[in-house]
């Protein structure tokens, strides 16, 4: 019988423990308790968000696979599809910024190439505390170096993203990594363990004790004692992952593989249970066969280890040695560790003894699902109060504009993206710094545009409007390059779901996002939820960061954001209203964060984006730029500074 302490230590509530007893009809042993705890952590089970995520629009003619698979898959014609997703690594990055960010990149890369796609573009959405906070510089340096260290070594270009600073992230930075790959539509691999009797193989790096309870840690709030939970940080080896990528792409050319999944959060546990759960089958594993890099690891540690760069795959009988040969060529382990069974159970054996036996489907599909209480903050009315007349007009507009341009959220990001190899694979036709990052698709005339966006201040003031605005801005940035927005992924970063205000923010943001996705024709095809982003009692600003993807049929019609020749005419599309609620101007110049954020008129936004795409298609414009944070003045200035050119152009308005 487990004492209360062990249950709590495993992050389970009493009710959840009772549900576990009900499912298996007996007391779980320690290994089984560990498995329940990671499978039912917030990070893996989405227990506080699943019921609300159902409201997202996830279908469309262009969608091949929506949420539920390792990543979203969208058809781009010519027999090709793009595979993309966003994943958060917020908590590990706060504890150890370099490795936290690096393993975040490693994980999102595996989510894409496990589906058979070669990764072609990485972007990252980063949020840190106030620049004056003592830890901000340390975290920023470490996170950027970690992303560069991993992505550059993998040879996948990091071509864009977003970076912003706000005091609400002082104790909890956000590191969201986006990755997009390209695959032939008929060579997509899914994470299913089908075919009773088929061998189950473990491929990649050896298993160590790193990251045990990384999944539950991701759902653990950072009290001031956050620093003590140190030893759970995983360490990434990008060289081994590059070998794993090339070995898998070689393997995917054959028809040996039935199903495959990355060993991400909760390692061997989540991959085996989810693969069996999806196929309605079971799996029997002999963990003696799991390659290890440390001695004396018990079943608990082997099942919960989150060592990096490992995959679980199911193959046809008889090809095991052929698969081993491929991985040996690339210097990697490849061992048969079990086989698929028909009784829907996951059985963990060690030296002939049963270490654990649990039903696959219920663990992944019958996890607890909460509809937690939600209520708006009591100071909402106060937040919206903004008396425009009380704000003095700027005495010197030039000085105000230059202060805005120098402010942390608006100044140049060259210092960051020049640490990323954003050119490798020679596909980057729109380099970092423009509204959208764009890569060409060799062998076709097409190009794919991507943009990450979210204004967390808008979401703090009005989560519904903030959610809609984030989708609108990300897809508008894509359209500004001339590409037609097709779909989005997301990283929903929020505080503790056990706080009604946070749940209210979460539900409102999802409503806003859903309405925008429907109006703009961009369904949600994948995503991630990260709760418990708090420092003590203060939740972070609600941050539903959006990753939008669009298709440019003819990459010659690409449009960038920079002015090109003297004498060109400047046109502003859309109406300008007296809306400075939650603006950078209000915050930087007047030190206030109040007022209602700008209204998003989704019908007009849809018409605007269609116009942008048509303008590019008919080659009527030389550049297009989205007016967003900082307003029209800042937007016009941003058009003047093309990175790498010394003489910026000016403008008269």
């Amino acid at each position: 019988m487990f004492d209360a302490h062990q249950i709590i230590l495993h992050g389970l509530t009493y009710d959840e423990f009772d549900l576990a007893l009900e499912i298996i009809g007996r007391q779980p042993n320690m290994v089984e308790l560990g498995i329940f705890s990671v499978m039912w952590s917030e990070h893996c089970s989405y227990k506080s968000s699943r019921t609300h995520l159902k409201n997202f629009p996830t279908t469309g003619p262009q969608v091949i696979h929506g949420p539920g698979e390792n990543a979203g898959v969208v058809d781009i014609g010519d027999g090709l599809a793009v595979v993309f997703k966003m994943e958060s690594h917020n908590h590990p990055s706060y504890i150890e910024p370099y490795q936290g960010a690096a393993t975040g990149v490693g994980g999102i890369l595996r989510d894409v190439f496990t589906m058979g796609a070669r990764p072609y573009a990485l972007l990252d959405s980063l949020r840190f505390g106030d620049p004056s906070h003592p830890k901000t510089k340390y975290l920023l340096d470490g996170v950027v170096a970690g992303i560069a260290g991993y992505g550059n070594c993998m040879g996948v270009p990091t071509i864009g993203g977003e970076l912003s600073f706000h005091p609400s992230y002082n104790g909890n930075c956000l590191v969201n990594a986006f990755n997009l790959g390209i695959v032939n539509k008929d060579r997509i691999f899914l994470g299913t363990a089908s075919g009773v009797g088929n061998p189950v193989m473990y491929v990649g790096s050896k298993t160590g004790r790193d990251g045990i309870h990384g999944a539950t840690m991701a759902s653990a709030e950072f009290g001031d004692g956050g620093e003590e939970r140190r030893p759970t940080v995983q360490v990434g080896d990008p060289f081994t992952e590059k070998q794993l990528l090339e070995a898998l792409l070689e393997l995917f050319k054959t028809d040996y593989v039935v199903g495959i999944q990355d060993m991400g959060a909760a390692g061997l546990t989540s991959s085996s249970f989810e693969m069996a759960g999806r196929a309605g089958t079971g799996v029997e594993l002999d963990i003696e066969k799991v390659p290890r890099r440390e001695e004396g690891m018990n079943p608990y540690e082997v099942m919960l280890s989150e060592s990096q760069e490992r995959m679980l795959l199911v193959c046809h009988k008889g090809v095991e040695d052929k698969i081993k040969a491929i991985f040996e060529k690339w210097g990697l382990s490849a061992e048969v560790v079990g086989r698929v069974t028909g009784d829907g159970m996951v059985r963990i054996m060690e030296k002939g003894q049963m270490a654990a036996e649990l039903p696959a489907a219920p663990l992944s599909q019958k996890a607890p699902m909460y509809s937690r209480p939600a209520s708006p903050p009591d100071d909402l009315a106060v937040r919206h109060k903004l008396d425009h007349d009380s704000l003095p007009q700027p005495k010197d507009y030039t000085e105000t504009l230059s202060r805005l341009l120098a402010s942390p959220n608006l100044c140049s990001r060259e210092w960051v993206y020049n640490q990323y190899d954003h050119m490798v694979r020679t596909n980057t036709i729109e380099k970092p710094g423009s509204d959208a990052a764009v890569i060409r698709v060799k062998g076709t005339s097409k190009a794919v545009a991507m943009s990450l966006d979210c204004n967390s201040r808008y979401c703090y003031l009005d989560p519904y409007m903030g959610g809609a605005q984030a989708v609108a801005e990300a897809t508008r940035n894509v359209a500004c390059s001339g590409a037609k927005p097709l779909a989005i992924t997301d990283c929903l970063n929020f505080g503790s779901p056990e706080k009604p205000e946070v749940m209210w923010q979460f539900i409102q943001a999802i409503k806003g996002m859903s309405d925008a996705c429907i109006a703009l024709g961009t369904p949600v095809v994948s995503g991630n939820v990260s709760f418990y982003n708090q420092t003590g009692e203060t939740a972070i600003n609600p941050t539903p960061s959006i990753g939008a993807m669009g298709l440019l049929e003819d990459h010659e019609k690409l449009v960038s954001q920079y002015f090109s020749e003297e004498g060109d005419v400047i046109i502003v599309l859309g109406e300008t209203f007296a809306e400075i609620g939650g603006s950078e101007y209000l915050s930087v110049i007047h030190g206030q964060e109040r007022g209602a954020p700008p209204k998003v008129d989704l019908t007009k936004e849809a018409a605007l984006q269609k116009t942008l795409v048509e303008l590019a298609d008919k080659r009527l414009v030389k550049s297009m730029h989205d007016v967003s944070d900082g307003g029209l003045g800042v937007a016009l200035m941003e058009c003047c500074f093309k990175p790498g050119t010394s003489a910026p152009l000016g403008f008269e308005v």
Binding site: E96, G208, V235, D237, Q308
Partner: protein, 82 residues
């Protein structure tokens, strides 16, 4: 007073560099080599008179800057004779 600090990864923390060097040494014929671990070596001079106070100063330097407490441990050697 000269000091030599050796900063190494805590045991259990994956050392991809050590693993790659071990593989290379083995492929170059040294089959019996094992346990290759790579760390940083930092030499510096502090203006302390006696070894004890020198060690104390360097200890604080390691805590504050030279070693990452999450993944690294350190060893200090005060060089007296030379």
């Amino acid at each position: 007073m000269k000091a030599k600090v050796t900063v190494t990864l805590k045991s259990g923390v994956l050392d991809p560099q050590g693993r790659a060097i071990e593989g290379a040494l083995k492929s170059l014929g040294w089959k019996g080599v094992k346990g290759v671990r790579v760390g940083k070596s930092i030499e510096l001079e502090v203006d302390e008179k006696d070894p004890q106070s020198a060690k104390a100063v360097v200890e604080k330097m390691c805590e504050k800057l030279l070693a990452n407490p999450v993944t690294e441990k350190y060893q200090i050697e005060i060089i007296t004779d030379r």
